[in-house]
Every structure is written in C-alpha cells, then in structure tokens.
Subunit: 205 residues, 2 copies
Amino acid sequence: MAFHYPNGQSFPLKKSAQQTLKKETTFANRGMHFEEAINQSNEYYLTHDKAVVHKKPTPLQIVKVDYPKRSAAVVKEAYFRQPSTTDYNGVYHGYHLDFEAKETKNKTSFPLKNFHQHQITHMQKCVNQQAICFVLLWFSSLNRCFFLSAEKLIDYWNEQENSRKSIPLSVIENEAIEIVPQIAPRIPYLIAVEKYLEKRSQTNV
Amino acid sequence: MAFHYPNGQSFPLKKSAQQTLKKETTFANRGMHFEEAINQSNEYYLTHDKAVVHKKPTPLQIVKVDYPKRSAAVVKEAYFRQPSTTDYNGVYHGYHLDFEAKETKNKTSFPLKNFHQHQITHMQKCVNQQAICFVLLWFSSLNRCFFLSAEKLIDYWNEQENSRKSIPLSVIENEAIEIVPQIAPRIPYLIAVEKYLEKRSQTNV
C-alpha cells in the first residue's frame, strides 16, 4: 500500500512484511508471544483451507453501554468473567479440536498452576464427546513447544492433586509430541494432531 | 439465599426458581427469548453429558481497564467488534457442531437479512471441514422452530443474491427439519442433528 503525493512520488506505508520480519528477529531472543503465534497459525490454517480454528473472545459482563451520536457504541462498564471453556476450538477434517495454549519460563518442568479446575473439567467433557482435546505447552526459555493430549494432562492432574504441582520436562518429552516452530504456520500443531490420531487408532486396534 | 436480620428473621431474596417460573408463563404468550432457550438447552445437554456446546462471548476491543484497590478490574472503554464466526459451536459424539440461532416475527418467510456474508463464509469453511453446520430458525409468531443445514442455506443465499431476500416458510417446511419445543431441553436440536446425519449417510451411500 502507498499514498501518492501530488508530485507523483509514492510514500510507502510500513509494510506488514517488514513488521513480520521484525517480529521474527526478536522472537528467538526475547521469547515470542506464544498466543500471537497460535493466532497466526490459525489464520494460516484458515486461509489455506486446512482447518477452521478460532480463539474465543474474552467473556465480559457488560453493565453499561453508551450510544453517542454519529459514532460507534462504547462499552463504559464491564467486568471480566471466568471462562467456562478452553481458549481455542474448531474443526479439522471432521474432527472437533479443543485446546488451551500455555507458556512457562521454567526450564525443567511445566507448572500445573497454569491450569484451572474448570478447564480440566471442560476438557474431560470434550474427551467424553470424542473431541481431539489437548494443550500446547511453550517453554519460552528453551524455545520448545509440545502437544500434550488432554487425556494425559488429566491423568497427571489427578495424580498430582496433593503433591508436586508441575510436570517434569522429562515426562513431557516422553508423553507429549514435540512441535518444531516454523515460518508459516509458526506453530504447526496439525502435524501433532495427525501423529496423535495415528497413535490413537493403533491403540484402539 | 437469605439475609439475616438482627432479630433472627430471614429476608428471602427473590428465588431464581420463581424467576424461572415467571419466565415460563410468559414464554407462550409473548414469544420466548430464543437465545435464552438455546443457552438453557446447551446447559441441559452439558449437564446430561450429551454434548458440549457453548455460545461464544461477544467480541470486544478493550481499550481501557481500571484496576481499583480491593475490587475487581473494570473495563472502562471497549468497542464491539464484528464476529468472524457463528455464535455457537461444540462437540457431539465426535461431530463438530457449528450453528447460528435467528428469529423472526414474520409468519410466511424468513428474511435473509438476518444473516451476514461473514457468517455464510464461515459456515462454508466449516462445511468444507466436514462440520455439522446449521441454523436454528425461530418463527416467534408461529411458535415454530426449524433446523436448516448450512448447505441448504448457502444454496439459497447464493441463488437469492440479487432477487427475493427471504426464504418462504413453504420452502423451509420442505427443506428443513422441524424441532418441537419441549420442557427440557427447551429446543431439542440434537434430535434434528441425528435426523440430518441419518439423511446424509443415506445420500452418501
């Protein structure tokens, strides 16, 4: 996109490609914004007709809305509500996907305090309805990403209820599927979904 | 719930059961709040382990948040955003459900102005990913509810692009699956989903 000045010269706007490049360079050093990377991956999958996955909006209790003349309605008072589901869901090849994305700066384990009972309850209900349900775990200090199935997370959650409150990286390396970040999609989680489906079909046979 | 006064007497708060009762009695006369009926049906299906379906929160662009001492964060400025999906989705028996609920006071046709291009586009993408995608149409003046598959809605939408902008009730009676409202769940849409699946499997054979 460019603005054209009267002298015929164009004034290029900051290109989104440049912005993306800038983001990529800071990504390795300062830890990427994991949620943003997931959202961009969803966008990629959507535009390439691979899957339809969206992040759910933050639930708000709206109390007061102003309707000013000649401009858009403005919410003037609202409160955050506890979400009753995970953040992401959608459809891939007939499968219902339902997942949560979490990150930690820890290097040796993933703290379970990142999860809440209502999310675990929701994931159990989804698993019962045969959804593909999982969490994407991001170790920002290690630049490593894992797909951990809800079944395994829930097992661990129930075992750990009253003891150690984190999953050691060694357990995750064994039980989860590692996802290697790419340029596009940045977090190619559908590869992990396919591996999970393959494994599940073998186990069921 | 009750407040206790110093004299030991309790002051009962208005019971939600009474509120529900009041709503039920007005339902037949003044037309029910369709969205509320769907939400209650989702709640019923969730608690009875039949399906996990939730309404998506309204998407808001949050601009300003206050964090007062000793009380909850308050959103002080936010704007409504265009949703990029339908209102409802979830999982039933391994199937991904994705739908929109709309009502009209009309008696002879359903106006297509109730739908937006972005919703149609989203539904087409879901259909391509083999989702069970549909709209629930409520004729409030007739007390009649229909399940219309996204495939048929999209066909009609494309045909009608530049002509008559509504679907006649007679067409809906032929092409859609009628849902008879009940006590619980109030809108038993999973019955229609089952009929749709049965029909679809016969067509595919």
